[in-house]
Subunit: 584 residues, 2 copies
Amino acid sequence: MKSDIEISRDADLMHITELANNLGLKQEHCEPYGHYKAKVSLDSIEDLKDRPDGRMVLVTATTPTPFGEGKTVNTIAITMGLNTIGKNAISCIRQPSMGPVFGIKGGAAGGGYAQVVPMEDFNLHLTGDIHAISSAHNLGSAALDTRIFHEEREGYEAFEKRTGLKALRIDPKRITWRRVVDHNDRALRHITVGEQTPGTPKNMNGVPRTEGFDITVGSELMAILALATSLKDMRERFGKVIMAYNHDGEPVTAEDLQVAGSMAVIMKEALKPTLMQNLEGGASFVHAGPFANIAHGNSSIVADKIALKLGDYVVTEAGFGSDMGYEKYCNIKVRAGGKSPDVVAIVCSLRGLKSHSGDFQVVAGRDLDPGMIDPNLPALEKGVANLHFHINNVKKYGVPAVVTINRFPQDTQEELDWLMAKAKELGAEGVAISEGFIHGGEGCMNVAKEIDRVCNEKKAYFNYLYNVEDDISTKLNELATKGYGGNKVVISELAQKQIADLEAKGYGNLPVCMAKTQLSVSHDPALKGEPTDFDVPVREVRLSAGAGFVYALCGTIMTMPGLGSKPGYMKIDLDDDGNIMNLS
Amino acid sequence: MKSDIEISRDADLMHITELANNLGLKQEHCEPYGHYKAKVSLDSIEDLKDRPDGRMVLVTATTPTPFGEGKTVNTIAITMGLNTIGKNAISCIRQPSMGPVFGIKGGAAGGGYAQVVPMEDFNLHLTGDIHAISSAHNLGSAALDTRIFHEEREGYEAFEKRTGLKALRIDPKRITWRRVVDHNDRALRHITVGEQTPGTPKNMNGVPRTEGFDITVGSELMAILALATSLKDMRERFGKVIMAYNHDGEPVTAEDLQVAGSMAVIMKEALKPTLMQNLEGGASFVHAGPFANIAHGNSSIVADKIALKLGDYVVTEAGFGSDMGYEKYCNIKVRAGGKSPDVVAIVCSLRGLKSHSGDFQVVAGRDLDPGMIDPNLPALEKGVANLHFHINNVKKYGVPAVVTINRFPQDTQEELDWLMAKAKELGAEGVAISEGFIHGGEGCMNVAKEIDRVCNEKKAYFNYLYNVEDDISTKLNELATKGYGGNKVVISELAQKQIADLEAKGYGNLPVCMAKTQLSVSHDPALKGEPTDFDVPVREVRLSAGAGFVYALCGTIMTMPGLGSKPGYMKIDLDDDGNIMNLS
C-alpha cells in the first residue's frame, strides 16, 4: 500500500472554491488560501440561518493505547461512508500542532484512504491559525513583562504620574501566563527571563523571573478559539484572560494590560474555519485543536455552526476516550453554545481492547506484543470491559452509541463477530466494522448505515452530567463518581484553598475540566479496562477565565513535550522536484 | 486627511486573481490567500523566461532621522507615477515585522495615498512567511538542545552505540543560533534555558545554558529567504547554517543536526513571493525583510526575478541610507544573483537634510524642532552635504541617481527650488519633487518622468565596490574608505582572530556585511552630514554561512527591541463591526 503522503499527492483534487460553491457557500464568504484550502467567513452563518441544522455525530473511542485507535481515520471514513450512502456529510476536525508532526507522530490528517488532503497543507501551517495564537499569546507575555519593567524601574507613583496609567503592581512571582511555541522543546520548560545581557547596564532587560514555554496548542487562546461563538465573543473572552496576580492577590487580566484588543486583532482571521476536502471530495472543516486534558479537546463551535447549516450530518472528533473529549464536549462545549450530539460513534479495535486485559505492556515506539495482534479471545473477553464503560458513559448523556470496530489486516472474522454481538449485548444501539483505512467511504458504508439507522430510530435526549450551579467540589465529585465510576473525589489541601479562593472571586459556577491521564478511565494510567473502587485525587485547581472553565489537575500534565534522539524531522526533506518526503 | 487605515479600507480593490491575470501570470502559478493577496509560484519564472527583463529602479535615501524620510511611500508612489505616465511598473518591497507594528511604528505599507493595500493584511501575517521563519528557526533550536540533551545524558559513546548517529559533541558555551520571536520583547534578550522544573528530576529539561531571543526578521533564515534563487538553493543554504561549535571548535551545521530538510519543508511556501496591489491598482510584490545591518536589508531575489519579467520597471526599496541597504544590494544581493540597478532614486526631505546641519537634536517620540520645519536655508545649506555623499555613493557603483524630494506641507517653494538646483550641481542625473503621499501616482509623475528620462539617456555601467576575492580585512577597509569616506578600518584584536579563523576555515572570499548605525554615514551616529577624517572600528566579525556573507559589528546592534510604557498595542482593537482600529 502507498504511504499516506503518496496517496495524498496522487489524489485528484477539486479546486476549493468549486467545493465551497457545491456546498452552497457564497463566493464572498470563501477566501481561498492556495487552491485547496479556504477560510470561511462567519458571515455565512447569518446568510444560511434559514436552513435547518444537520445532525451531529460525535466520534470518540475506547481508552486509547499510545498508538491511537484510528479515531481521525474513522471520523473521515464515516463522513465518506455517509456520503457514499447518499447523505450530505461534513467533517469538523482539529488542526494538529506542528510539534508532534516533526517530533514522533507524523501527520494527523487521518491515514490511508481516509485522509483530509493535501495532507502536507493540513499538517503544516494550514491557514496560519496556530501561528496567530503563538503571536497573540506572546504579545500578551511581552505586554506583561514590559509593564513590570516600566513600573518597577520607575516606581509605581512616578510611573502613574508620567504615563497617566494606573500602576498594576504585578507580582513577578505570581505570573500565570507562560509563553508558547509550537514545537516540542524541552529546554524551554523552565527558564529564567529578563537576565542582564553581559556588558549592558543592569535592569535593561526587565525584572529577572522564572518562566516557561508551553506548546502553543496548550494556550488558553486555543481553548477560546474553539469555544467562541463570534468575533465579539472571542474579543471579550480575551479581555477576561488572567495573566498574573498583583501584590494583593487580585487578578491582572489582558484587559488590564490593554493588550486584549491587539490579541484579538492578531487572531481575527484565525476565527474563520478552514475548509478542505477528503480523498473522495467531501468537505472537511479544520479548526482549533485545544488539549483534551487542561482544555476541552474539541474543534470549534463556529466550524460546527457553519457545517451544520451545510450538511445533513456533521461528523466531529473529540479528543481521547469518551471520559475525556466526549465528556468535555457535553459539559463544556455544549454549554458554551455547541450543538449536543445526536449519536456517538465509539471507535475501538481488537488490539486496543486486548490491551485492556491488563496482560500486555504497550510502549510507544516499540512493536506491539503479538498477543494483541494474533487471535486471543480470552484477552478480548477481559478487555471488552473498557468498551462497556464507554458505551455506558455515552448513554449517560442521553445519546445513542454506535460501536465502530476499526479493522486491522490480521483481525479474524471470528473475533470480530464475537465483538459485534458483545457490543449489542453491552447496550450499543448499533455496531459495524470499518475498513475506511484501506477502502475509504466504501469501507465505512456499514458504519454509516448504522449511524443513519440509529439516528432515525432513536432520538437523543441530551442531559449534562452535573449541575453547573453546584459548587466546584460537588462538580468534581460528580465527575469522579458518575463520570469515571470512582468512589469519590479527594481534594488536596492546596486545591481546597484554591477552590475557596475561586468561589470567593465569583468563578464557582463555571464548568470544570478534569486534567487527567487519557490512558485510563480513572486518574491512574495503570488501571485498565473498567476500573472500580478507586478515589480520584485532585492535586490542584486552576482557572481559565477567558475560556470559561476551571480545570483540575489529577496528575502531572505535560504542557511541553520533548524530542527523542531520532526525531521525525531527521527524515523529512524536499526531493529534487521540491516535493515533501517522509512526512507521514 | 483620512488616516492610512481609513484610506486603505475605503479603497476599491481588484480581486488579486484579476490583477495576476492582467500581469500575464497563469492561474496555476497564482495561489490566492484571501481575495487580495496571492502567492506566486517560482514556476512562473520558467514560464516567462522568453520575456525580456524590465529595468531595476532602486529606491534609497539620505541618512535617515528616526522618523524616516518616506522611502516606502515613495517606492510605491514612484511605481504609481510610472504607471500614470504609461509605463508598466511593479514594486518589490519588504514584509514588515509585527513587532514594531504593535510597538511604536505602526504600519509599514507606505502611507497616505501611496500604500499597498489592504494595509491590515500587509502589516499582519501577510501570507505567513515570517511565522514560517520563526517556526523553522526554532525547530533548529529545539534540534540543537535535544541533541545536546541526549548526548550529554548518555555519554557520547553510549549515544553513538544506541542510535547509530555520530556524536556531535556540541559545546553548550559556543552556541551561535539564538531562538527568535516576532515581537519586541526585551525580557527575552538574555535568558537561561534547560533549567530544572521544580519537583521533577534533574537534567530532565536538558543542559542549562544562557540563551536569548532575537526578533524573527533578524534570523539568518530571513537573509537566506531574500537571497535564495530557487527552492533547491534555499535548501542547500539552510544546510550550511552554523548553529554551534563543537568542543574542538569545528562548526556544527543544520545539516549535521539533520534538521535542514525539515526547516526547508516548513519554509517551502514562504519562498513564493506575495502579490498585492497599491491604491491605484498597480502590482506590488512583498517578500522577505532582512535587517539592513547584520544582514543585507533588501527584499527577495525571487520576487525581483518574477517582477522583472512582468514589468517595464521594477521599483524596489533598500533599507536605510545608500551606505546601508544600497551598498549591500550592490555588493551582496547582486553577487547572489540579483539584477544590478539601472537607476537609483535617492529620497530626501528638507527637514531631513536640515537635521544633518548638526544644529538639531532629533529624538523618536518627541516633536521635531521647528527649526527643521520652518524655512531655514542656512541649515539646509549645511545639511545638504549628506545628499552630496549619497549622490556620490550611488554613482560610485556606475548607476545614475535621481534625487526625489519628498515634499511636506510646510515646505516652501524657495527652499525646494534651491534644493532642486543644488542636487543637479552635486551630480544628480535627475531631480524632482514627490507629492505621492497626498496625491498618489499623479503626485509622483515628475519623479517618474525623470527616472524614465535618465534611464533612456544614461546606461548604468555597474561595478562592485570591492573585489570579493580579497581578504576580509582588505574588504572591510574598502568599505570604510571608498564606502563611507573614512580614513581606514581599525580591526580589534578579537576581530582579527575571528578573521584569521574564518579565512582558515575557507570563508575568506565571501562578501562582507557591515553592521553599523544607520544614523550616520560613518559608524558613529553623532557624525551628521558628510563626515570626514574618521576611522571605522570593527569590534567583532561573525559568519552567516548559509546566507553567504561575513558580517562585521562596528557597534552594538540591537537584535531584540523593547516596548515603551505606552506601546501601540494599547490603542489597537476591533470596533463593533469587527474592523481593525488604530493600526496606523
